[in-house]
């Protein structure tokens, strides 16, 4: 038995589409451009990246839903293209969002159906389903139709479904998307528990705190390529020699952002909109105190909280991703 649960070697995937009948236009999008990595058995491995980076495509290449345009991948030693059924016996797949369940059926019926489909022996089905309902906290609500479930409950049902056949490798594609903080914390606890029992987990997420808390190793993917790979502590080194200034502001025009970006010593500027406010994160060289310069550029603009702090994994992530973007101001 190989020590690797997942082996990806030079995976590439190109999507081809055609629009129009009379004058058809063909379009090619290279979503994954040569991704290679390995995941040990029992490891919790994170795949981080912005939207459109190729995270979901990579997962779908590994879980047999897509065939790679080039490259090879093995899961539990089985080739994902040639030994599809063997791979499927060993994997579970959970994705975030509302879809993927039979809404007009109860949670129990959903789990019964997928238990049959995934080959859970009939004799053990009842006990397995009960145990999973308890694990995800849906016991007592299992006879209600899924259409009446909250997003968090659906997400927990997704997880129960993905674990029905006790997979060796679990693919979690942004499982906490749209889930409230309390439910997300529960979810993280469940995922951590799975890893402790020896299940290999490949997790994609947008939430750095989630990745930092859970993952043994993280690969940062952007533009279809892996840009950095290591433990969370190792990845944080990408932001070494920097300091971070966070400024809450209201209505900062693009021209001012460009001005901040051009300040000597500034490495990255990113903007996140939080309600009516914008949260500016300015990364600069550690030896430079940027606060007065940045506030000078923002003169006349309504400001809120201003904080200087040490870089986090999120800052490292921003620095890795932005290093491979043509423009430096990331929204």
């Amino acid at each position: 038995m190989t020590e690797w649960a997942i082996e990806a070697d030079g995976l590439r995937r190109t999507y081809r589409s055609r629009t129009g009948w009379l004058r058809p236009r063909r379009q090619e999008v290279e979503a994954v451009r040569g991704v290679s990595f390995t995941v040990r058995r029992g490891e919790l491995f994170g795949l981080l990246g912005p939207n459109g980076a190729g995270k979901t495509t990579t997962i779908k290449l590994l879980n047999t839903l897509l065939i790679p345009t080039a490259g090879t991948a093995r899961v539990c030693g089985h080739d994902v293209v040639r030994q599809t059924r063997e791979v499927r016996r060993h994997i579970g797949y959970v994705f975030g969002g509302d879809r993927g369940l039979y809404d007009r059926l109860s949670a129990l019926d959903n789990l019964r159906y997928f238990a049959e489909l995934y080959g859970v022996p009939p004799r053990g089905q009842r006990a397995r389903i009960s145990a999973l309902l308890e694990l995800v906290g849906l016991d007592g609500r299992e006879r209600e139709r899924v259409e009446g479930y909250s997003r968090g409950m659906r997400q927990r049902l997704h997880i129960a479904r993905g674990l029905l056949h006790e997979p060796d490798v679990l693919f979690l594609d942004e499982p906490s998307i749209g889930v409230d903080p309390v439910a997300a914390r529960e979810l993280r606890r469940t995922v951590a528990g799975l890893a402790e029992t020896g299940t290999t987990v490949l997790l994609t997420t947008h939430y750095m705190a989630e990745a930092d808390e859970l993952c043994d190793r993280i690969a940062v993917i952007a533009g279809g390529r892996i840009r950095a790979l290591g433990t969370p502590a190792e990845l944080k080194h990408h932001a070494d020699g920097r300091r971070v200034l966070e400024v809450e502001a209201y209505g900062v025009p693009d021209a001012r952002l460009a001005e901040i970006q051009d300040l000597p010593g500034v490495r990255e500027v990113s903007v996140e909109t939080v309600g009516a406010a914008q949260m500016l994160t300015v990364q600069s060289d550690a030896g430079t105190d940027m606060q007065s310069h940045v506030l000078g550029v923002l003169n006349g603009i309504r400001l809120g909280r201003v904080t200087a702090r040490q870089p986090t994994l999120e800052d490292a992530y921003v620095s890795i991703v932005n290093a491979h973007r043509p423009e430096k101001v990331a929204a």
Binding site: R85, L105, Y113, R145
Partner: protein, 251 residues
């Protein structure tokens, strides 16, 4: 697996108010038209045939749109990827869906028979009630298996409903669900002969009016079994194509 899958898919389909309304209303409207046509044609003895024929049309419509539409629905629900990920042959994953659409199609048959009895006083005088009790489920099973072949072509097309729309009326017409195939142009006969719908409809009609039910039912099930094998092979090919073309999900 097949039984649980079929029953749960039938349960899911049966809980859609829109689908149930369409499944019950359209055949009743068609049966009404047929009754008036037969009456004006001085063929009142064929009213039961009209009710049964309209019911069969309902079963066919349910299978046709069910096989295509249900798979499209699986895509919309995001469940197509999840069911195709099962470590089972793709045909075994899809067959319960097509069988379920045939099963829910029987609502149409029940609706047209009840409608005929209650509204027009059509007596349910089947020539061979026992044969009818076998022919109707046999026909439903056959159409469910035929549905797999349809499904294997629909799974690759994102706009499969366009194909389904063009197939609905020609098939029930050519299969002789309402009028016997003998009154249709001769060039339709070879087409009719290879369709399981033709033999299923004939078996059910013979159970109603009298005639050799079992050979027709046997041919219906034999052709359907052929479609099942063809559909299974095709489904494996199509699944691989869908993985290559990325058509299992919406995006």
């Amino acid at each position: 697996m097949l039984a649980v899958g079929t029953l749960l898919h039938a349960k899911h389909l049966s809980r859609s108010p829109l689908e149930i309304t369409i499944a019950l209303l359209v055949p009743v409207v068609q049966a009404t038209l047929a009754v008036y046509l037969f009456r004006s044609g001085a063929e009142p003895h064929r009213l039961l045939e009209a009710a049964v024929g309209a019911g069969l049309m309902g079963v066919w419509s349910s299978v046709l749109f069910g096989s295509g539409g249900a798979i499209q629905n699986q895509r919309w629900q995001g469940t197509l990827e999840m069911i195709m990920l099962a470590p089972r042959p793709p045909a075994l994953v899809i067959l319960p869906i097509t069988l379920a659409t045939a099963l829910t199609g029987t609502y149409a048959m029940i609706a047209t028979l009840l409608w005929g009895r209650l509204l027009y006083g059509i007596r349910l005088d089947f020539a061979d009630p026992l044969a009818f009790a076998a022919a109707a489920p046999g026909c439903v099973l056959g159409l469910g298996m035929f549905g797999l072949l349809l499904a294997s072509t629909f799974v690759l097309l994102r706009n499969a409903n366009a194909l389904a729309n063009t197939m609905e009326y020609p098939i029930w017409l050519v299969s002789g669900m309402l009028v016997p195939v003998t009154v249709l142009p001769p060039w339709t006969n070879p087409i009719a002969a290879v369709l399981p719908t033709t033999w299923g409809a004939r078996a059910v009609r013979e159970a109603v009016t009298g005639g050799p039910v079992w050979p027709s039912l046997g041919i219906c099930l034999a052709i359907s079994a052929g479609c099942l094998v063809l559909g299974a092979v095709s489904m494996s090919y199509v699944e691989r194509r869908a993985r290559a073309a990325a058509t299992l999900a919406l995006a």
